[in-house]
């Protein structure tokens, strides 16, 4: 894999990274490095945000099953005490991008007590190229600051035009995109325009501010045949690289998923609708896989979750699995996982 080879050469080894991190801390304490950040160190208030993702709603008259699942998630969210600062909706609210599906989604999410931050997925987009979604929810690409953490929401499901030349109807275009195992499927991209926007957006921030990026697809290359993949992932990672702490939270994969590339930590979100099996190759080594779901239990392997952002800007994620014990992945756990894999000696795998 070319991309893998390229990253292999450019990736800082874990040991080098720790060395750099240690020297950075030393410089910081000597007052050489960014006085502003140092002045604020230790005063960041920890907070919690929650997520619901990948509901894949059909219109109400057709399918009640996925509605029940969203209602369950809404109950979970509204029962959180204290309430999360906000709730991220991780994309794929609709199954076939139908206005009725998106409206139903808006109605169901309207029951949430906490503020909602929306992200778009390919199932929301490819019927009318996001027209209805934007009408209902506003911009698909935006950023905001919350308690001295910078958040960015991307539209990572851009693909090359496959529909104009064969004169596909909007529904044909949508169904082509909705099929996960479509052998002719096109890879997701963030795209040049958005990468430029991202650079510009981030240029206003110092590297010490914790960065959290929301993307529907994983911002790394995992498994191309199912589009568990972002074609320009390396270029996006290069932009995030300048930050001391970056966390990417993504949907689309419907499973427990953990990856870390240098300073960037990637967490996959659960779906409310159905879990996806792990593909035959490319699962990041840090991921502790979920056993296959019980088909007789609609909610097994599904769920929602919360992320606790620590005062140091790192995030700990809780997977609220509906039919299983919850799974916690703390930043310290990730450090320990690296040790069990051999600190600094982890070979880049296919997920790179």
């Amino acid at each position: 894999m070319n991309a893998g080879e390229k990253t292999k050469n450019t990736l800082i080894s874990r040991r080098d990274f720790l060395r750099v991190a240690a020297s950075t801390t030393a410089l910081g304490s000597l007052g050489v490095f960014n006085l502003d950040a140092a002045a604020h160190e230790g005063v960041r208030t920890p907070f919690t945000f929650a997520y619901v993702s990948d509901a894949h709603l059909y219109e109400r008259k057709l399918n009640k099953r996925f509605i029940r699942a969203v209602e369950k998630a809404v109950n979970d969210m509204n029962s959180l005490n204290p309430q999360p600062d906000f709730i991220l909706y991780g994309g794929d609210l609709a199954q076939l991008g139908q206005p009725g599906e998106l409206e139903l989604g808006k109605e169901l999410l309207g029951q949430l007590k906490a503020p909602v931050k929306m992200m778009v997925g390919e199932h929301d987009w490819y019927f009318d190229m996001g027209e209805k979604w934007r009408e209902l929810f506003g911009k698909d690409v935006y950023s905001f600051d919350h308690k001295r953490v910078h958040f960015v929401v991307l539209n990572s499901v851009i693909v090359e035009d496959y529909w104009t030349e064969p004169k596909m109807t909007p529904m044909e275009r949508m169904k082509f995109m909705a099929q996960l195992d479509n052998p002719k499927g096109k890879p997701f991209m963030v795209g040049k325009e958005q990468r430029e926007w991202l650079k510009e957006d981030l240029s206003k921030y110092d590297r010490s501010i914790p960065l959290v990026v929301f993307s529907h697809s994983p911002l790394y290359k995992y498994y191309r045949p199912w589009n568990f993949w972002t074609e320009d992932a390396e270029q996006v990672q290069d932009i995030l690289w300048k930050f001391d702490t970056a966390t990417v939270v993504h949907g689309h994969t419907h499973q427990l998923l953990l990856n870390q590339l240098g300073k960037i930590t990637f967490h996959g979100m659960l779906s409310t609708a159905w879990p996806w099996p792990y593909p035959p190759e490319g699962v990041p080594k840090l991921t502790i896989q979920m056993d296959r779901a019980d088909p007789f239990d609609q909610f097994d392997g599904c769920g929602d979750g919360t992320l606790d952002v620590m005062s140091n800007g790192q995030a700990n994620i809780t997977y609220n699995l509906w039919s299983r014990k919850p799974r916690y992945v703390t930043y310290d756990d990730i450090e320990r996982l690296w040790i069990t894999h051999g600190l600094g000696q982890l070979e880049p795998g296919p997920s790179y």
Binding site: H56, Y58, L62, N63, K64, R65, Q95, L96, Q179, L180, D181, P225, W226, W274, P275, W276, P277, P279, P280, R292, P295, F296, Q298
Partner: protein, 218 residues
Amino acid sequence: MKRNRLLLLMAAAMSFTLVLHSVSADTDVTRPEVRYLGTMSCKEALPSNLEGVRLFKLCDGETKVIIAADGTEPGRPMARPIAQMVASTLLTAYQDLKTSKLLAHKDVPHTPREKETFESELNKMIQNGYTLFHSPELGTNGISCDMCHPDGANTHPETYPKFQTQLKKAALLRDMINWCIENPLEGTKLDDNSEKMRALEAYILSTRKGTPLEFGKH
């Protein structure tokens, strides 16, 4: 075995039709229907569904070659071109049989034509299964099989039959296919021997080529 033999006969019949076309073009005679029906052991009785068809047989004590010729009446002499066609068809079929071009199970490899037939017939069945697997038509709520099972993942057909606690019996793959159709898809279950069920099984199995058979595995 029977299915294989039938496929072979079909392949053979196709090749003889081509031969007959060229003969009739050369002789400029109204083309009679001369159909190659197949071969069988000399000891075996003819299938009963051939009653009422005028048959011509060639037997060497081991193997019979059978053809049917329409447009001829028992007891009356045949027109020469028709008789020639019957004779040459019988002879060609017999020679072909003896040079073993068509029978792969007698130390002779399959012919390219046979392979093409095998492949196209099989692919047709698998493709029908693929289409059903990726279509909401099996259910009523928009859901299709591939939504949870991309590329047939997590269907593990190689583990059946096995006891399925929730069904309270040893289940075959088709039992689970029907369970999925009735539950997540909220559809009506398929007849066990329906073309749709057979095609679905064919597609699912095709995604697991090379996987060891581990029936009973949980």
